[in-house]
């Protein structure tokens, strides 16, 4: 059993697209599957509201291509 979500948070399966709602320094609030989460945007420091980010284990790995705005 995995706590919280159906899948294990260590696994690539939960690298999910999250839409940026707001940015505060190196943290962003993203909406992942209808829920708000805080993620570190150290790897995508130019992320801005509206971007779609691939999120895993509390950080954004990268921006999904061609989906800005």
């Amino acid at each position: 059993m995995t706590v919280g979500r159906e899948t294990c948070s260590t696994c690539g399966d939960v690298a999910l697209p999250g839409r940026v709602r707001e940015v505060d320094g190196l943290e962003a609030v993203v909406e992942v599957e209808g829920q708000s989460e805080r993620v570190g945007i150290d790897l995508v420091p130019d992320a801005r509201p509206g971007d779609l980010l691939l999120c895993h284990a509390g950080i954004a790995l990268e921006r999904l291509e061609g989906d800005r705005g």
């Binding site: 059993m1 260590t10 696994c11 779609l52």
Partner: protein, 375 residues
């Protein structure tokens, strides 16, 4: 939801299943290993095996990071957790993995301060909020998860925190793949490559598989349509006489990977000489440890760890499951002495573990396999 709904379209799934059926030669079985535990989970959750012709046999690989952690490392984590004044933070699934002397959850019941987090950044925040305690993050995961630990270490250094450490158990995907490819009597004809590991390391990282071992690879995303499309791409390579790395997950994976994530890993971590893998034994240069400049955050230097090597329970056949030699139900304790509620082996712990996925979703498949269809 964009990037999800369009990859679960039932009509498209049926059409791809028909295409796959048209690409096989009757009676000629093609064995496809999905390396990633996330793929295993998705295959069972969506019942994809039922859509495939008997000529396509799926073999479940070693790509669940929870499942490959040896029992000795769990005991080391328990030793850290039971140190006075220390909080051990880790991902939920690690709490239930049995070590040689119980699990972290059992250590918690005995009074150890063990906490579940979703991110190493949460562990860092705990350390910041509780300066009187030392917070150690028990880090596991492949190259997908290592960037989060790397970012956390960089922030810990920038914040000059002295009450935070990482017990690093990050592992690399190439060494276990090589170990599987060098298994005598290998029963795998083609590989579905991990999707999100590849978003970090890039699809070019698998070129050694076709070039040195003569097996095709398709890097795949995780939705039903993605996986069916990847299987069709592998079968088409066979028909065309090609053997190469193809990328089905182009919306995320680039050939060269993610340079920023790779740089963060390289700045904070370096390969170990070797690392023990459950089921695969000791593999050279197969895991990461913290680099010297991050020694102050390295739990292996800060704590006296037992470091014992513990044999798996004799009845548990996780090793053979992880290398695709047997199906979960062929293990004598599957579903009896070993269940998701009381796991004996790691493959039954995480929902990505082949045994847990099979136990939860796939038992209807068993009569078909026992009847010899697809064997």
């Amino acid at each position: 939801m964009k990037y999800v709904d369009e990859y679960r379209d039932p009509a498209l799934a049926r059409s791809l299943a028909a295409e796959i059926a048209s690409l096989v030669t009757p009676g000629e079985v093609v064995r496809v290993m999905e390396v990633c535990g996330g793929h295993t989970h998705a295959i069972y959750r969506h019942g994809l095996e039922e859509l495939l012709p008997p000529e396509v046999e799926l073999v479940h690989g070693p790509g669940c990071p929870v499942c490959v952690i040896p029992m000795g490392r769990v005991d080391d984590a328990i030793a850290i957790a039971e140190t006075e004044g220390v909080t051990l933070a880790t991902f939920g699934d690690m709490l239930r993995v049995p070590g040689g002397s119980g699990s972290l959850l059992q250590a918690q019941a005995r009074g150890a301060d063990v906490r579940m987090v979703y991110s190493p950044l949460d562990a860092l925040e705990l350390a910041r909020r509780e300066p009187d305690r030392h917070v150690c993050f028990f880090a596991i995961g492949f190259e997908t998860t290592a960037p989060a630990t790397a970012i956390t270490l960089l922030r810990a250094r920038a914040q000059e925190l002295s009450n935070f450490s990482v017990f690093c158990n990050h592992v690399l995907i190439e060494p276990p793949l090589r170990a599987i490819l060098e298994t005598p009597g290998l029963r795998v004809d083609a590989f579905i490559g991990p999707g999100h590991v590849s978003s970090v390391i890039g699809s070019d990282a698998y070129r050694f598989i076709p070039e040195e071992y003569g097996r095709p690879v398709v890097v795949s995303a995780f939705e039903p349509i993605d996986l069916l499309q990847s299987i069709a791409m592998l079968l088409r390579q066979r028909i065309d006489g090609r053997c190469e790395v193809e990328n089905q997950y182009t919306r995320v994976v680039r050939p060269e990977g993610n340079p920023r994530a790779l740089a963060a890993i390289a700045e904070t971590m370096e390969p170990r000489e070797d690392f023990e893998w459950r089921g695969l034994g000791v593999l050279p240069a197969s895991a990461l440890r913290l680099r010297e400049p991050f020694a102050a955050f390295d739990a292996e230097r800060l704590f006296a760890l037992p470091g014992a090597r513990i044999e798996d329970p004799k009845a548990c056949r996780c090793g053979e499951v992880l290398t695709g030699q047997i199906k979960p139900w062929e293990c004598g304790v599957f579903g009896t002495a070993c269940t998701p509620e009381r796991p004996l082996g790691t493959c039954m712990v995480s929902s990505e573990g082949a045994c847990a996925a099979y136990f939860s979703y796939g038992r209807l498949r068993r009569p078909r396999e026992e009847a010899g269809v697809g064997a």
